[in-house]
Symmetry: C2
Subunit: 257 residues, 2 copies
């Protein structure tokens, strides 16, 4: 059955979407069956893959509201060999609309059940908050959260908060919820700060930090404007090399290589 991961961190701009999209593309390129679920109303993952969030016929929002099955909203990206369940701006309303629904935190987990046999990996991109959308993703993520951590001081501040939230989800919603790993991103060798942040995270969570460190690389910020993942936009860039290494590290750690 599929491994299900949530890309989660309530700190904004740390590389959740970039990691979800890059990882999905490398796994798909390696012949792995991948579904990318976009749970962010900003639909960054969708637009990174050239999907127009304002014109999709149906999205993850319709799935959460119980009007559509997951498979009915999935779009196939034949070039990258991956499937995408797109987001739409309406997702922002789900938090309010579901507030008094019983089992509102389990909607995504239930909807994903039909997909578990169809995929090897399901990656869920989360918005920068710990609201209902992220809680749904953490509840659905049977194999845990992959937490991108920007190598900057402010990104460190929220880590404790996130880990407490993951513990709450594990205690009340999904006993399998855990942290699969912490991925250091936007490492900038020009400043000592990046190394200090990496050292601090490694010191506090020695067993959780992935070996791969993603460097700051301007090609990664350019790729979405071309509607492509780094794999096809700039395959020889430092960003592509790092994410290829990360995909391998994840597969190896999951005994899938």
């Amino acid at each position: 059955a599929a491994r299900v991961y949530a890309l989660a961190n309530q700190k904004g701009g740390v590389g959740k979407t970039t990691t979800a999209v890059s990882l999905a593309a490398f796994l798909g390129g390696a012949g792995v069956r991948v579904l990318l679920v976009d749970m962010d109303p900003q639909a960054s993952a969708s637009s990174s893959l050239n999907i127009d969030k304002d014109s999709v016929p149906a999205s993850v929002y319709d799935v959460l509201m119980g009007r559509r099955t997951l498979r009915s909203v999935v779009l196939r990206n034949a070039r990258l060999h991956i499937d995408v369940a797109p987001a739409s701006p309406a997702l922002a309303n789900a938090e309010v609309e579901l507030v008094s629904e019983i089992g509102r935190e389990h909607r995504l987990r239930t909807a994903l059940e039909e997909a578990l046999a169809l995929y090897d990996y399901i990656l869920i991109d989360c918005p920068p908050s710990l609201g209902l959308l992220t809680v749904n993703a953490l509840t659905a993520a049977r194999d845990g959260a992959i937490v991108p951590i920007q190598c900057e001081y402010l990104a460190l501040q929220g880590l404790g908060h996130l880990l407490r939230a993951i513990n709450l989800v594990r205690a009340h919603l999904n006993p399998e919820t855990k942290v699969r790993g912490l991925l250091m991103t936007m490492f900038d060798p020009r400043t000592n700060l990046s190394q200090e942040v990496v050292d601090e995270v490694r010191a506090h969570f020695p067993d959780l930090v992935f070996g791969t460190v993603i460097p700051r690389n301007v090609r990664l910020s350019e790729a979405p404007s071309h509607g492509e993942p780094i794999l096809t936009y700039a395959p020889n860039s430092a960003g592509a090399v790092a994410y290829a290494a990360f995909a391998e590290e994840l597969l190896r750690g999951d005994d899938r290589m």
Copy 2:
């Protein structure tokens, strides 16, 4: 009476906190009476100024819940000549706790009334979402929103969404709500993308974009780890020069210079 601005953008990591803290410090240094209100549960603005979010006796959360007056939670930063109303992680609960309260969107606006006569500028740092905390900030911001926009493709995608949300707040909650201006941030001359993004925003919103463009500057990401604003951490850096120019542009535009 005070000018009240919200630093808002639901896209994460675009420079809301950096702008709020930098601007507050430059205005305070110019002899302007400034209150910085931290509405983000991550408390990035508070920790950027060396305030330990986990040990503050009271925070903006207590003010929103009606247990404290705003003035009773304000901390004075004598060195920078500014006041700070700190955040705490409990703020994350306010969204849920206030969901069925009448007038829940006006809590901050009401709490700030006692402060209008005491300050020249009140700056409100928002979390990366369009939930109740940001709606409170937009409702309180009599003079509008200052919207930092990172010079990257993904940061452009959410702009329409934010402007629609601001229109909704103006229609239903605060007829004065508007966009004070769009501030381009993290401009990186090494890539064409930055200039393309600036050109696109200027083409769409010619009257809204501030003339000052904030460059990507590693000193800005280092400053928070020293608990200092760029003004005192690296006063001659490109980041400090740009934010000083921005403070002047804002004061001049407000007829306060």
